[in-house]
Symmetry: C2
Subunit: 407 residues, 2 copies
Amino acid sequence: MKKIAGGVTAAKGFMAASAAAGIKYENREDMALIYSQKPCRPAGTFTTNVVKAAPVKWDKAIVTEQEFVQAVVVNAGIANACTGEEGLSYCRQTAQKAAELLDVSENEVLVASTGVIGQQLPMERIVQGVARMALKLEGSKEAGYQAAKAIMTTDTHEKEAAVTFEVGGKQVTIGGMCKGSGMIHPNMCTMLSFLTTDLAISKELLQEALREDVEDTYNMVSVDGDTSTNDTVLLLANGAAENPEITEKNADYETFKQALNMVNQTLAKQMAGDGEGATALFEVKVMGAASKDAAKRLSKSVITSSLTKAAIYGHDANWGRILCAMGYSGVSFDPEKVDLFFESAAGKIQIVQNGVALDYSEEIATKILSEPEVTAIADVKMGKYEAAAWGCDLTYDYVKINADYRS
Amino acid sequence: MKKIAGGVTAAKGFMAASAAAGIKYENREDMALIYSQKPCRPAGTFTTNVVKAAPVKWDKAIVTEQEFVQAVVVNAGIANACTGEEGLSYCRQTAQKAAELLDVSENEVLVASTGVIGQQLPMERIVQGVARMALKLEGSKEAGYQAAKAIMTTDTHEKEAAVTFEVGGKQVTIGGMCKGSGMIHPNMCTMLSFLTTDLAISKELLQEALREDVEDTYNMVSVDGDTSTNDTVLLLANGAAENPEITEKNADYETFKQALNMVNQTLAKQMAGDGEGATALFEVKVMGAASKDAAKRLSKSVITSSLTKAAIYGHDANWGRILCAMGYSGVSFDPEKVDLFFESAAGKIQIVQNGVALDYSEEIATKILSEPEVTAIADVKMGKYEAAAWGCDLTYDYVKINADYRS
């Protein structure tokens, strides 16, 4: 199993295209199209927010009801959320247009949107964008890369990942792209992730693998279980690798799950590190927890603490804020047993032992916290479970970006 | 019932003093002492954080076990949290010193601390501070005001409130002071509130009234039920008004509860508006909820939304973020029924009707949002329950203050 360069076009039989439809941005592409030459089994996980955007409603129905899909149309700039019946009709129109040009059924086309809530899509531009993209579909690495750039909103760079591995003597690939999600409270920003694989696998197992892995990856990105109106992860499997179809939870299934986790964790960390205004990727690892759930809740509580994130921005080893955030997580533990460490490329330092500060060097701690990737490790000594969560520091630029995002 | 000027010395028989003990700040007072000439019934509510500061442990035991108390010693600068047995022994030493000078028992002295977590108190300075304050106790309005200033940390101004009312033909007063709690996630900053009254009331009813009112006031200040290591509200009743003692839930008790709510809500709103770096007090009112709990959870979810707070700073009527924050509150409601309004001294405007944006004037909305006190009102049309929550906008200065608070 190894990471390779590439994104949504890395797996066999997948093509991509992008276009500047002028939805909201000038001088950049803002639409992407993913297309598989062979029909794909679809899987998806969606926002749990009571307020669901129109494309989420459209995709959920298709992923649930359809055995196969062949395309995904994505736009940035407008989220098509809180747009009522009119917004939902635009999902259908977009899918119809793509279906017509790609010679598939409208029920085989998924759609996704990200951007401002409450505005209607400019349908003429969307339809023109779809038409232009249908003509320029390519299976090249470059086409996947341009698609990853086109779906960005406040992201500062595109996010791609791909992994190859072997199943039944055949080479299989999973590739993907995503967009963040600059964030303090990531639950409020849209996270879109599109994954493609040439694996042959049953629809049920594809869905189960995705659902489980999302819990350990995207849902650990500074999220507390809450999601935006548009959050969507789609995984399409077209079977072009020609492996014997995976229909049970055997060793091949486990291999696939590992590869999927590698792709998703890579994308999740890229998202966290590219949080709005972020200068550092902040990782929180909790070990020694009494249960997996406890480990997750503790690490999420720290990763969502604005005070802790502001301290990371200041390169300040403010362990009190970390302990405090663990304390209000709702998880029971003994504060007087906790050990805390900071780690980065510059080294590792223990700050707290059994709940009390050690006489550590602030200078060394600051050096460790000045790296672009910083990890806080808390050992609560209650059991054997671990979890990791990812986020970023809280900076002036976060406020700047979000004080006037709409205009 | 009416609001009057004053704070912890407004009620009969209460005195206060303050001192510059040099715990952490230069050129300002950082300790306060509250003293009642008559023994007081004590009531208190404390942080629910698993990590409890030493003074919280000290006070909890006293409020639970003692029938009467007579003094409170407060310091700013160091929180005495995560300080182990040594920290707890310092609470006792502080109380002992005050008890000796005021001729009471050490179990009649409460203590409270706010500031940095994980450092030990400089006991020599604390003891000297107590000694100086014991000599200068005064019942004047000025002494109360200086005490309110001395307990500040990142607060930009002191916070006091007082109300008088009549019980059984006697004039009764409740006064108080508090310190915030500049905050995004207020659960992580220390909120201390000290309330004094000359009412005669049983210990049980005093505690019950306080516990209930804290739920509707301090706990609605941008908190989601979580609290810092030190959060404390203390209420002392010395009976000096000489009203017939309230021992049952009669009309007098209800009058007292109304007055207590007036004081606490006034203090809570002052805290919210003085959030770290804040330029505006932000109030969220939810109406038409199916239950009181639903109304509270919806309003708290909006008030803690960093994206919404950043939008308020930008005077941006970004209603999508408000609807989104309501959507992930965990409360069930129909997004397509929601009406949203913004209101301030500059007027009131409806932004959303039945979940969809109206064609409102952005210019007027911006004008309304540019006031120093701004209210968002959401009507979910599910029932008859209402709640309000208070917070502030999220600004550059919040990040600045918190990126390097320790140094």
